[in-house]
Point group: C2
Chain length 706, copies 2
């Protein structure tokens, strides 16, 4: 029989279990014995205080003494305005340079004495600093010599919830939506606050509450009131809310006969709608819009460009300081010669024509959140447009919530990718504003994996993806391995050996998924529509929604030719990347089949043929999951029994599904390549027809409204 | 800022917070200092042991010493077979008389010494006894003079989950389904065990996992495997699983061209399906079937009777000891003259023609789980048929999970209702087998209010309805007030004054709902289909699905005449009830408009006119909610801040919706009665058109599959 510990994973990484190491406990007890933290009556300082009380009581075994009294305090916490001792010119200048979200945690000369300070120019920074202090205690960072100066690199660090108003979540694998729209605005369960705490602890400061496949009802007066109530709960945690706007809302609402951006009444409708929203939610973030993509309405319905559409809504938001986020993920009504090229072709000509409060939000790759894609070429091609980077935290294409796939490595790979915009060194992180220190607009968004399940994300390890997203959005220069370690220490144990093994599991996990699903640059060969399980044989229906379109496998070879002799999509990349990617000889092998169609017998760097390498990649993917299972077995005792057993069961599912992927894909590809499986690769357990006949029912994540 | 306490309401009534009263703590510490509990390797004793460890550790502050060693034990727990000291002839006889689910908790002569024993003839009884011991400690029952002999009155105490395979819950208001069908059979999160613990703690021993609007996929080999995995988790807690069977399954599955009960291949299909299920789940409970009702397929599609249909499936289950539960809730394809009469008319002629392993499941009232209905006349009319009683725990018609409506009083009212079958004293409880001591089949079922929300039921007080259902199903003679007290002590506080006030709130709450929704015998005037909010004006569409059909209000009066001059539905009741209900003069006023159509100016017992009494009833309902809010305000400090605040917010919603109900209904009825509101009744805030124009969107509980 297994014992519950803290309601399974409900506490996330904010567990605050007692510090077992006496020296560390003594250190933090000394540092926090008496905290001066003037809260006034505003939100963020109150939230910081509550978190310090909760966290330190858990970590140290007794509640800290927190008051407004600076005399005798072991730690001075506040802003220069709220806490007069922190108001000296030197400190004030230092804090102001860090901005309202930045903070200092260290020793400073205050009224002639060196004292511990947790200080920020703004109240949000104070809250982030409080979480930082708690994280250090949770991860056993010694206080001696402690000196932290931190600030976010990106202005908007945002979760996009694809949550429908009926409570379903499109591509959600963790139960229903956490938003109880039916009982808003009156009912504000504690879970909303716990959600906000989790976000604030990693620096997430914005949330789009509704699905990008948008419902015009979200902009109705009734739902604005509901949204305002949620905004009220999130505000003390530094989080601003966004809503998705359906482009045809003026029409859908019955108010107007058109949604044409050039019609003056349409502009007036949006202006009036924005005014209505800002009356209720003065710090409303703005709108997120998916338009002219996958059937969503948009400006092209009226022969207008994306820029005209975006600027229409941006103009309505501008007087109130709002931001308009326009998605570059466009799927036109007809199939194209090369799907990968569409966003670039539609958006590059518009560079420079967006209003200053517009962000164009670009997915990390040109296709759709695959286990591995090259970075999106738009990142090097729109220098006069503020670009937001969109990741997907929910594992639509990476095994749903059943597979352990740590995405910190994926995020890191994209953020560090060099776009060569204007020369080498222009990483994606720098392009989206990560290096500009918060000048102008900048945004990293992640499609949320949060749902109403007890463990929030459907898999205890999926919590790490929420965590890593937030940490990297704050500081894109962080290493995925370091983030994994932080998270493992906070979530499971501070035993160094165990942490090392957990981190090793996490760090290899995404590559394992790439291996058993889509190695060597393959993409989008999963089950149709629901994206569950393998479907490389899918070839019917709209061509650019099929697997066959993407892998182009036949008797002579496999891959999509995007080089100069193919679709020339490589030309969308800056030199030298277009040359690097453009030749099968120089193209990184991990992207080979994305950029090139090559013969089955093409020799690879290993000396093996492509076919053999492909088979081995699938086999290695499965083997990596088996190794994760072994590793986890050795970690019993480092997690409470409930979480240990739940992860154990999920790893068993993952191995079974990895095998399904390998066997189904190899059966199919072998039927075309007509080549034998190389040594070291197990032949599939069943014939191809068996795998094709599997038709999973009631696959989660479809969502009720599309 | 508010602090979380135990993940909101996740811990249900099994909180096991430390006993604050030193004397009680000492008592229980002494009693449980050393427990002898031989667990062997089977489920229920292990579950009992785990629960005692968890519970006593929480209550007493340290884990009990539990072993197989009888010597020196302060408490001997086990069965006569597992624990030899309990095997003496006298005790064995006493235990066997209580049956395998009954138990003794008290002092008995064991090997010449009086010792504390927790003993049962069966392993399930041991588990129930362990929960009883913990409940007594939780509710501070002194151990001195303790002597408990208990056994269930009803054999099947069952939750019916209207959960769809896609994770939605029809009429569910607490999030999505707790069953994660997609990840079954491999993933068995701890929540399943916590669900089982909660059920076992109140004696619930059966669960129908799937919606009565059934999906044939539930009987597929794949889903049988999933169900078997769930059954494996529930088994140690004494819970057997049932599935709903769609009558057309042989046809839907593609196996046969008919589902006609007289076709031999259909009987063979069901026999083979039952065999397949029992191979996987040897203790499978059986099938629950909704047939020929609201569009569900059934035997009448082939011109056969309900009995033929039920017996078809019952015969398939019989060789395996399974039970077939056939619902008497029938809604024919065409509107009837009096909806209330249909079930009786269809089922009474079949009395005596069902196989011995059939239960006919009858809703508590003839209509559909209304805030108040008379008991169902079938309970007095089928003496040769085993009848199951079906309650609805989920508040489809009582304000969803937003309204505090303690249903213990409703359950009690029905169970105690005298059917006069064969003379006075034949209460519904006795008819369904409550007094027969478990001879033959007996069953009380409740439509579950459990969902995946953190607090399980969507409202902290809705947990009390799950609790009360289980307690009354075990022992229908319990008083609703006593159950409320137990629950309040376990869930909130043992402060006598606070308990008294909480119980008072609960005991008046269902009558409050009757008052502001459907007083004086009104029924079914809620919003169409979704049943949210008032809709007394609904009159379009199928007549017997409209409010106007049920209330018959017009210029001259209101009510449905079911007396001898009307539909004569009263004749379905045994004398003297048919006479009592049959005359408006003798009919209880709380059921008046259910049985009679009367003029607006009819004088009531109070001396007021019906119109004035009706208006005052609505007003009193609203007033009762305001009083609950006041009472709750005074209870701050007796609940943790999180639950206190969440209940507080929901009570505010309840008051607003009670007012909406009153104002909408009175506006509408006044438009017909043309009479002024009496003194003490506030005129509605808006005109009738305002209320009619309200069209709630995305109302929860519709479910995706119908």
């Amino acid at each position: 029989m297994r014992r519950s510990d803290g309601c399974g994973g409900y506490r996330l990484w904010l567990r605050y279990d007692p510090i077992d190491d006496p020296a560390t406990r003594r250190d933090y007890a000394r540092l926090t014995r008496r905290i001066c933290l003037p809260t006034g009556s505003s939100g963020a300082p109150m939230a910081a205080r509550a978190e310090l009380e909760r966290g330190l009581e858990g970590l140290l075994g007794e509640a800290p003494r927190i008051s407004e009294e600076a005399r005798g305090a072991t730690l001075l916490a506040g802003t220069p305005d709220s806490c007069p001792p922190l108001g000296n010119a030197e400190l004030r200048a230092e804090l102001e340079a860090l901005g309202p979200e930045g903070y200092i945690l260290g020793r400073r000369l205050v009224a002639g004495r060196r004292r511990w300070v947790l200080a920020s120019a703004g109240e949000a920074g104070l809250l982030y600093g409080a979480f930082r202090l708690l994280r250090m205690a949770q991860t056993r960072v010694p206080t001696s010599g402690l000196e932290v100066r931190d600030r976010p690199s990106v202005k908007l660090r945002m979760l996009d919830h694809w949550d429908n108003l009926d409570g379903t979540v499109e591509r959600g694998y963790a139960g229903s939506s956490i938003w109880d729209w039916h009982r808003l605005p009156g009912y504000l369960p504690e879970r909303y606050r716990d959600y906000a705490r989790a976000n604030a602890s990693v620096g997430i400061n914005a949330a789009a509450l509704t699905n990008v496949n948008a419902d015009p009802l979200a902009l109705s007066t009734e739902y604005i009131e509901k949204t305002a109530a949620l905004a009220g709960v999130l505000r003390p945690y530094g989080i601003r809310v966004f809503l998705t706007a359906r482009f045809s809302a003026p029409l859908d609402s019955g108010a107007l006969a058109t949604a044409d951006p050039r019609a003056p009444e349409v502009a007036a409708w949006w202006a009036s709608k924005a005014e209505e929203i800002y009356r209720c939610i003065p710090d409303f973030g703005g709108f997120l819009v998916k338009a002219n993509s996958e059937g969503q309405p948009g400006p092209q319905d009226y022969g207008r460009s994306h820029a005209e559409g975006a600027n229409l809504l941006a103009a309505a938001l501008a007087p109130h300081g709002g931001t308009l986020i326009w998605r570059a993920f466009v799927y036109s009504a007809r199939a194209s010669e090369d799907r990968a090229k569409q966003a670039y072709e539609e958006f590059v000509p518009l560079d420079g024509s967006f209003l200053p409060n517009v962000l164009v939000q670009v997915k990390n790759g040109p296709i759709d959140f695959q286990p591995r894609e090259p970075f999106h070429p738009l990142f090097s091609a729109m220098p006069r447009t503020a670009l937001a980077l969109e990741f997907q935290i929910t594992q639509e294409y990476l095994g749903f919530a059943s597979h352990l796939a740590y995405l910190g490595t994926l995020f890191e790979e994209v953020l560090r990718a060099d776009t060569f915009r204007g020369g080498p060194g222009a990483t994606v992180a720098k392009v989206i504003g990560g290096s500009q220190g918060g000048q102008g607009l900048s945004c990293v968004a992640g499609v949320s994996n949060v749902g109403a399940s007890l463990d929030w994300c459907g898999h205890h390890f999926a919590q790490a993806n929420w965590y890593a997203f937030g940490r990297l959005a704050w500081d894109p220069s962080l290493a995925a391995a370091d983030i994994a370690e932080e998270w493992a220490r906070m979530s499971f144990t501070n035993d160094d050996g165990a942490v090392h093994r957990i981190v090793a599991m996490m760090m290899g996990s995404r590559e394992a998924v790439v291996g058993y699903m889509t190695p060597l640059g393959l993409i989008h060969i999963m089950g149709w529509d629901h994206h569950y399980g393998p479907g490389p044989w899918i070839s019917e229906g709209r061509p650019d929604w099929t697997s066959a379109y993407f892998h182009r496998a036949a008797g002579d070879g496999i891959g999509f030719e995007r080089g100069p002799l193919g679709s020339a999509a490589v030309d969308q990349y800056a030199p030298p990347l277009r040359e690097l990617f453009g030749s099968a000889d120089s193209c990184p092998e991990e992207l080979l089949l994305y950029f090139h169609r090559v013969p089955w017998d093409r020799p690879m760097r290993s000396g093996r043929t492509l076919w053999n390498e492909l088979c081995l990649a699938y086999q290695r993917g499965v083997g990596a999951v088996a190794a994760m299972r072994d590793a986890w077995e050795g970690l019993a005792g480092f997690a409470d029994a409930v979480r240990f057993e739940e992860v154990r069961e999920l790893l068993a599912i993952q191995e079974a599904e990895a095998l399904w992927w390998k066997d189904a894909c190899l059966s199919y590809f072998a039927s075309l390549s007509k080549r034998p499986y190389p040594e070291g690769v197990r032949a599939p357990a069943h014939g191809l027809e068996y795998y094709k006949a599997l038709k999973p029912q009631y696959v989660p994540g479809i969502g009720r409204t599309r």
